[in-house]
């Protein structure tokens, strides 16, 4: 008998309206969104500014209530405090208590999540080392660089060993070396069996790590699927390379002292898909409006 493993995140008909002003004019930030994130995958949430990504993340985290529809995290309604036991969250441009040291900050959040005593101390040491901040752990967070803030943010998100890790623009404003390091950490999370939900504007990074992506615009889901599938959709298979082939090609080129410039076209493909989908959606919206 196969036991039912709940999806990591299950959004069903999710809609969120915000009231603007006293006259109650409503802004629909998320419109009938349905998608499922499987356990153990890295899932990318893409969309232009104002597409509803942050709102969706906040609903998953229980920080906002949906106007209609449902959101469940490992089978538990996101509105319940219990749903957040299994969730770690790194906000966009994170801000933490500047007067605490890195170690104190992670310890604080660990205690909040119920860790205690020796196991807490060990876990704090482990995550801080894992994000590469062991040497800076006793400095105040207020003295950290942007990249260090991202790392300590990742540490606090992981201290309680959550099953689902939500990363909101994890590499925004970080230099390429730092961004690469964070990307590597994300891959390691997957290797450890974690489910990762990422939002990002840096599509090249998204397609490098994500198993599947969803594209949102004006609160609506435009596309959802594996990066490779979306890339090859409507094109002949000879025109594109999937991610595995891409990696093999990169290895082959590297063995011959060549660069990966030949793969540049693949990165552009996801950009193109993104732009095409969004543009198409807006044109259809304009037609409906007229």
């Amino acid at each position: 008998m196969i036991s039912a493993i709940p999806t990591a995140v299950d959004l069903s008909g999710l809609t969120k309206d915000f009231s603007l002003g006293l006259r109650g004019v409503r802004l629909r930030a998320v419109d009938n969104l349905s998608l499922a994130i499987r356990p153990g995958e890295i899932f990318g949430l893409l969309g232009p500014n104002g597409s509803g990504k942050s709102t969706t993340i906040k609903i998953i985290l229980g920080l906002l209530r949906p106007t209609s529809g449902s959101c469940r995290v490992f089978g538990v309604s996101s509105e319940r405090v219990e749903a957040r036991i299994a969730v770690g969250y790194l906000p966009e441009a994170p801000n933490f208590y500047r007067f605490l040291s890195g170690r104190e900050l992670v310890t604080f959040y660990g205690r909040i999540c119920g860790l205690r005593g020796a196991s807490l101390a060990a876990r704090v040491l482990e995550v801080i080392a894992w994000v590469g901040l062991a040497e800076a752990a006793d400095r105040r967070v207020g003295t950290y660089s942007k990249g260090m803030l991202q790392r300590i943010g990742l540490a606090q998100a992981l201290v309680h060993d959550p099953q689902l890790v939500i990363l909101d623009e994890p590499t925004a404003g970080v230099d390429p070396i730092g961004a690469a390091a964070i990307t590597e950490l994300i891959r390691e999370l997957k290797a450890r069996g974690k489910t990762v939900l990422i939002t990002s504007h840096l599509l090249a990074q998204i397609e490098d790590v994500c198993d599947r992506v969803a594209i949102l615009d004006k609160g609506c889901l435009l596309a959802c699927g594996a990066v490779a599938a979306l890339s090859t959709e409507g094109k002949s298979s000879t025109d594109t390379l999937n991610a595995v082939e891409q990696a093999e090609l990169a290895q082959w080129l590297s063995a011959r002292g060549k660069t990966a410039a030949a793969i540049g076209g693949m990165s552009a493909r996801l950009d193109q898909i993104f732009i095409e989908r969004v543009e198409r959606n807006r044109q259809q919206a304009e037609k409906r409006a007229s």
Binding site: F18, K58, L61, G62, L63, L64, G75, V76, V81, E82, R84, I85, V87, Y89, P91, P94, N95, F96, Y97, F99, L100, F108, Y109, R111, I112, C113, G114, G153, Q156, H160
Partner: protein, 274 residues
Amino acid sequence: MNTVPFSLRRVGLIAGVTLHEALRQKLLHALVLIAAGLVLGVRALRDFNFGVSELKFIADFGDGAIAGFGAALTIALTAQLFFSEIEHRTALTLLAKPVWRTEFLLGKFLGVAAVAFTFCGLLTATLVGVLEQRQLELQVDQPDAWVVSHAVNFGMLWVAAYLHALKLALLAAGTLLAASFAQTQIFAVMAGGAGFVICHLQGLAQAAYERNGASLMTALATLIHWIFPDFQRFALPTDGGWTWIGLAQVTAYSGVYVGVALALAVRSFREREV
């Protein structure tokens, strides 16, 4: 499914970090220094030379400094510590953990209340020091004018400090209630300040409804009297009249209003989109 029951431990953790943050606020340092400076500086008023009555004046001056600066500190700190979490989005990170919103608000309140109690204690200790020294000087300088009945009742000063602290805790709860639905920090501060004045003057409303017959204004005055706690209750009773039962009653009075204000704040904050 794992459950996450309400945890006083988490409340304590949040209160601790709130207190830690509060102690780093320059506003707190400034107000404590000014208040302490006033308490110490009141000795300069000895030039008025009204003999042993000077002790009463020093005590009242110090008491006024604790009340006034304590209120300013409590209102400003409560609003500041709440809104800094919202504006810097540290509340986002915290509430994304398995934390009840009730725990968050209670933690904020307890952190501020701890500052208020510490402030009252610290300044009262300063005042007691000033009075003790002056009392000794007067006993030596004016032995003929000195009678035991003129001696300062230091126990009363500590009772007054406790009553001030209770009042400030109530003020913190009220400001937190305003902050829970306010969109800006300045609104919360103004609401706290207005509440402070109304709670002190609501005795006038009570007098109005006791003197007048049935009317719309009487009803309004009655409503104001009921909605806003009476801060006159936290004044020391007439000379030498405090009792443990009286203190317990005032403590319960403050506790009930604090409880109701915090419950309303939690209800409001639950609806707030962070």
